[in-house]
């Protein structure tokens, strides 16, 4: 699945990093950074959970 993040609305809560550490990281200021914008399908479930848990709705997952 394709992942897009919106760094400008990220609140740095780090839920995504805890949920899918191979996909998401945080920069020095705590804002989300993508490690992998097209992760393997084993991670689909984690990605959907990360999207659900992101308090800022900063994560978009493209299911196509």
């Amino acid at each position: 699945m394709q992942v897009v993040v919106d760094k400008d609305v990220c609140l740095g809560a780090g839920n995504c990093v805890r949920t899918a550490p191979d996909v998401f990281d945080q920069d020095e200021e705590g804002f989300v950074e993508l490690l992998d914008d097209n992760p393997p399908s084993e991670l689909d479930e984690d990605l959907l959970l990360a999207r659900r848990l992101c308090p800022a709705r900063a994560i978009t997952v493209n299911e196509a």
């Binding site: 609305v9 609140l11 740095g12 809560a13 780090g14 839920n15 990093v17 805890r18 990281d25 945080q26 920069d27 020095e28 200021e29 705590g30 804002f31 308090p55 800022a56 709705r57």
Partner: protein, 393 residues
């Protein structure tokens, strides 16, 4: 709301009754106004993530938890009491030091703090009050270091913090306590501006006050929030968590023998869920009519989300009344949900992981030095816990 005399760890039974019969119920607040009490986790999540719901503590319909909370929400208002975009603009100035990697880098320092306090306890007289000797100093030392606040002043800021979290404090007392803390933080920020160090207040001062983005007063108000937010919460999780584990000796033994850091991390999540120490509810006011279930919350209505009930919702957790350190408690809302979700959660997690992973190992015979009936529970606070926890070994 009265707690069940039978179980000091569980939310009041009346809350559970509401969950089944009236998940959205109108209740009367301390000031005579009414608000919606929301007890199901799914509803809480939906509402906390809804942009039509406001945390602006200056809005007329905002359901303050107490007189002291109302004072803080006006004279001491900062991003926790604001809506976006102001909220996000301010919060994003201080996220850096709470990022997971940066908090992880602090783990060895947190371990040293925890070990040092345990050394002192072991060398001192017993029984000892675990709250004063350990539960409060851990978060206090950690947050002081992170912010750049001298720990030597802890008696001063802890005393004023207690006034602000007590539901019974008068408006005058709360205003005075808040005023003193503001003067203190303002002075510190002035010092950091003149002579910056490697800490959060210095970053705030040089990165945002100096540039004119933030006034010194705004920075001081934020400093007060950061200094206090992590104190009572983490301290209560340490003391109440320890008491809970002592009452569940089998699970305590399993935790003590666990080598896997994942098991300890999981135990922290379960204790956060089970204890859900924020007992005053997460409070909001509706900006528009919101349909939820069969009900309509009207624009202007106050809304109180009882996360202690939500974290024991059987639609969200199987057998929710049972403490089960092995369960996947990942979906709990002890840190809230939505844009105001706890900023300090990575820090709180590492502190609790180090504490739960160290204390019972270093003092395997740790036990209560009094009867459970004599432990003074905090029934008068917005944050649940114990005032004192006499322990021995």
């Amino acid at each position: 709301m009265a707690r069940a005399p039978v179980c000091p760890f569980s939310p009041p039974p009346a809350l559970r009754g509401l969950q089944a019969q009236a998940p959205l119920a109108k209740v009367r607040l301390w000031d005579g106004r009414t608000a919606w009490l929301v007890t199901r986790q799914a509803d809480q999540r939906a509402l906390l993530g809804d942009p039509r719901i406001s945390r602006d503590t200056e809005r007329p319909g905002y359901p303050h938890a107490s007189v002291a909370a109302r004072e803080r929400g006006t004279v001491g208002r900062t991003f926790i009491g604001m809506d976006d975009p102001e909220h996000t603009r301010l919060r994003r100035m201080v996220t850096g030091r709470f990022a997971i990697k940066r908090v992880e880098a602090q783990r060895p320092a947190i371990q040293r703090i925890v070990d040092g306090l345990i050394d002192r306890m072991l060398a001192g007289p017993k029984p000892v009050d675990l709250v004063q000797a350990f539960a409060l100093p851990v978060p206090s030392l950690v947050i002081c270091e992170l912010l750049g606040v001298p720990y030597a002043d802890h008696d001063f800021f802890q005393a004023n913090s207690r006034v602000l979290v007590n539901r019974e404090s008068s408006a005058e007392a709360a205003r005075e306590a808040n005023g003193k803390l503001l003067v203190y933080l303002d002075r510190l920020i002035a010092e950091k501006l003149a002579d910056p160090a490697d800490d959060l207040l210095s970053e705030l001062a040089t990165g945002h006050v100096k540039t004119g983005e933030l006034s010194r007063r705004e920075a001081a108000v934020m400093g007060v929030l950061l200094l206090l937010a992590g104190h009572e919460t983490t301290a209560n999780m340490i003391a109440l968590g320890t008491l809970t584990l002592l009452e569940h000796p089998d699970q305590l033994a399993a935790l003590r023998d666990a080598d896997d850091p994942k098991l300890i991390a999981g135990a922290v999540e379960e204790l956060l869920r089970y204890l859900s120490i924020i007992h005053s509810g997460l409070r909001r006011v509706a900006l528009a009519d919101i349909e939820i279930g069969q009900q309509t919350i009207r624009a202007g209505d106050g809304v109180v989300m009882a996360i202690d009930a939500g974290n024991r919702d059987e639609q969200a957790f199987a057998d929710p009344e049972r403490l089960d350190l092995q369960r996947d408690a990942g979906g709990h809302m002890a840190f809230g949900f939505g844009v105001h979700q706890c900023l300090g959660q990575p820090l709180a997690r590492v502190e609790l992981q180090v504490v739960y992973g160290t204390l019972y190992r270093r003092i395997p015979s740790l036990r209560l030095a009094t009867d459970l009936e004599h432990v003074p529970f905090k029934h008068d606070g917005a944050i649940y816990g114990v005032y004192e926890l006499p322990v021995t070994w």
